[in-house]
């Protein structure tokens, strides 16, 4: 139980830093830390492979992309002189709190059923055999999606460059 609380605390702290930090690079690295702490939670929950995957993909690739792009655009030296729109802040926080309340209600009402743990054998082999049998179509769709994403990135990124060369 102690480990649970500790990990949740860490994740919450870093999550808050992501949202409320002034500088975006700080936000990016705190996102990295949140993702790593989520990986730790996975590990603690027993799904070891997923934590490895989480570290490898989320922390290892996506977060890097963020920092990478931030450095490319050197976001830092932007003067952030935009005025803080008070009314928007209030409305947004209010509605988000309402949504949070609704979700909390959902969990509160069925916390008993949710928290009992019935561990099926979660050996990775059995689980991932399922990936290639019952979920074969989504798996193929995912590959197609990835391919499309790669092509999209190449096109979008290079498109801009071509325009530049023309000028």
């Amino acid at each position: 139980m102690a480990a649970d609380i500790l990990l949740t605390f860490i994740t919450v702290v870093f999550a808050l830093m992501v949202v409320f930090s002034k500088r975006t690079v700080v936000a990016a690295f705190s996102l990295l830390m949140t993702l790593l702490s989520i990986a730790m939670i996975y590990f603690q929950l027993g799904t070891v492979f997923l934590s490895a995957v989480q570290v490898l993909i989320n922390a290892g690739a996506i977060a890097i992309l963020f920092v990478f792009v931030m450095m490319l655009i050197n976001l830092e030296n932007f003067t952030n002189n935009r005025e803080k729109n008070k009314t928007k802040l209030i409305i947004a926080t209010f509605t988000v709190l309402v949504i949070l309340g609704v979700l909390a209600l959902v969990i509160n009402n069925n916390i008993e059923t949710l928290s009992l743990v019935n561990l099926a054998d979660n050996s990775m082999k059995a689980l991932f055999e399922k990936l290639f049998t019952t979920y074969y179509l989504p798996f193929e769709m995912a590959t197609v999606l990835l391919l499309a994403a790669i092509v999209a990135c190449v096109v979008i990124a290079s498109h801009g460059k071509k325009a530049e060369e023309k000028q």
Binding site: T24, A28, Y42, L65, L114, S115, Y135
Partner: protein, 97 residues
């Protein structure tokens, strides 16, 4: 284990709030990533409590989707930056040139 449920919805809502409050596009994308983390965690928790293991596969798929989304999102931001030299949402209101 039950505290993680609250954590996941907290992450989700925080990400949502961040997406709304943030000024520039990249941090919005960041917060989106945060929401994704929250959802994935919820998947795992449900798979543990109901014993339905396939949910863990869903996490893999959400990861894939979030990876694609981030990749395309960031390349769009770069292209946008090249064109408009700014990625603050206030400046990108006008769609036409």
């Amino acid at each position: 284990m039950s505290i993680y449920y609250y954590l996941s919805i907290f992450l989700f809502c925080l990400g949502l709030l961040g997406t709304i409050l943030k000024k520039d596009l990249i941090s919005m994308l960041l917060c989106l990533e945060l929401m994704m983390g929250g959802v994935a965690l919820l998947f795992i928790l449900f798979s543990k409590s109901t014993g339905f293991l396939d949910a863990q596969l869903m996490v893999v798929f959400t990861l894939i989707v979030s990876a694609c989304e981030v990749a395309v999102g960031l390349s769009l931001i770069i292209a946008l930056y090249r064109k408009k030299q700014t990625i603050y949402t206030d400046d990108i209101k006008i769609i036409t040139e």
